[in-house]
Amino acid sequence: MLVDVLVDAIRLAVTAIPEDTVEALQRAHEAEESEIARFNLQNILKAIEIGRERSIPVCQDTGTLTFFVRAGVDSPFLTEIEGAIIEAVRKATPEVPLRPNSVDPLTGKNSGDNTGNGVPIIHWELTEENKIEVAVFPKGGGSENCSALAMLTPGEGWEGIKRFVVEKVKACGGKPCPPVILGVGVGGGADYSLELAKRALLRKVGERNANKRIARIEEELLEVVNSLGIGPMGMGGVTTALDVKIEVAHRHPASFPVGLIVQCWANRRAFLRISPDGRVDMWR
């Protein structure tokens, strides 16, 4: 049962792009004047429609299956959830279908079912509750290849962060499938800044950080990135990013880590909550 609802959540994520993202793409389409930018955005909106209507993956890169789990220690499903996630990935691969995206780095052999050493990737958080919440986040490779880490000095600070993000986006051009969504994690150390950046992408497009100072920096960065003119698919236009999401953690006095995770327009995600009585709620 747990396996089947997880398969449903994976299917929902790869076939139905969330409404907030679709609306942002529709606004981008209205804003573009160039014929090529409109061609690309029309194709994007058509692909989203086809994915939803026929329940097929919008993008052929169904990504590395990534899960963020908030596991209540009092949930009766606590001991089952990890096995169920792995089994759901195996089952979803032929059923949805997904592209098998798990390759042995030494032999180059594809495992064929999206599992392997360390994959699917599962990030754990334990809570004192009796429910389990799972975020399904299939992450595409083209955009992930544009992700980066900078270990800035405290003297460079937030100005350094803005410079780093803008330079990276500029260097990536059309490669990550713009219009992109940028996840930025600041502080915590090298590894944690990148995890924060990825978690930031679980927020809805248009949803600002609750901290007003951070929210202002998100807006400022979005404006600067869109002034670059990279445009949809890198062929010019006024929309290069749909949104910028920043999350912060405290930093070491000597360090100012900044992790950048680039997300393509196919901003796929699904959430589910498993109550202690077995009831499941699912949303995007």
Partner: protein, 172 residues
Amino acid sequence: MAVRLRTPLSGEGVIKLKAGDIVHLSGTIYTARDSAHGKILSLSPEELPFNPRGTVIYHCGPVVRKTPRGWEVVSAGPTTSARMNRYLGEILPLGIRGIIGKGGMDSEPFKGRAVYFAFTGGAGSLAAESIKRVRAVHWLDELGIPEAIWVLEVEDFPLVVAIDAHGSSLYR
């Protein structure tokens, strides 16, 4: 200007195309990503499972489904072409006249011989509508689904000429 083209493409045919043209491509295209490029270049042209002259390569790793009638393409948009820049100077001289991908490539190797067509990255469900049939698949066991060479029959696949054979590119 919208042009209808059918594979195999001729040298004269691709020279006429200009960056920004919309092309509706029909005929046969061959998917190839990183591993397939490496393997193609490790073999002599006679050892290849297809004749590369006049062909169009598609940078794509599709989602496919096996049915009683054979393989079916479910979703098949382009992958990031820049990863294949390292093979470009050697792959085009095999006689390849067109590459379909996303994100762009080095424009120099295309000069005088071939063009780069862009399709919208991520729009795999839409691209699959132009793919009518899987004619064959090469090296599937060795390379796996994403990296194998899928021989696809396409009809009116809507593409943008993003890099032409004269060195013009739409990429910023």
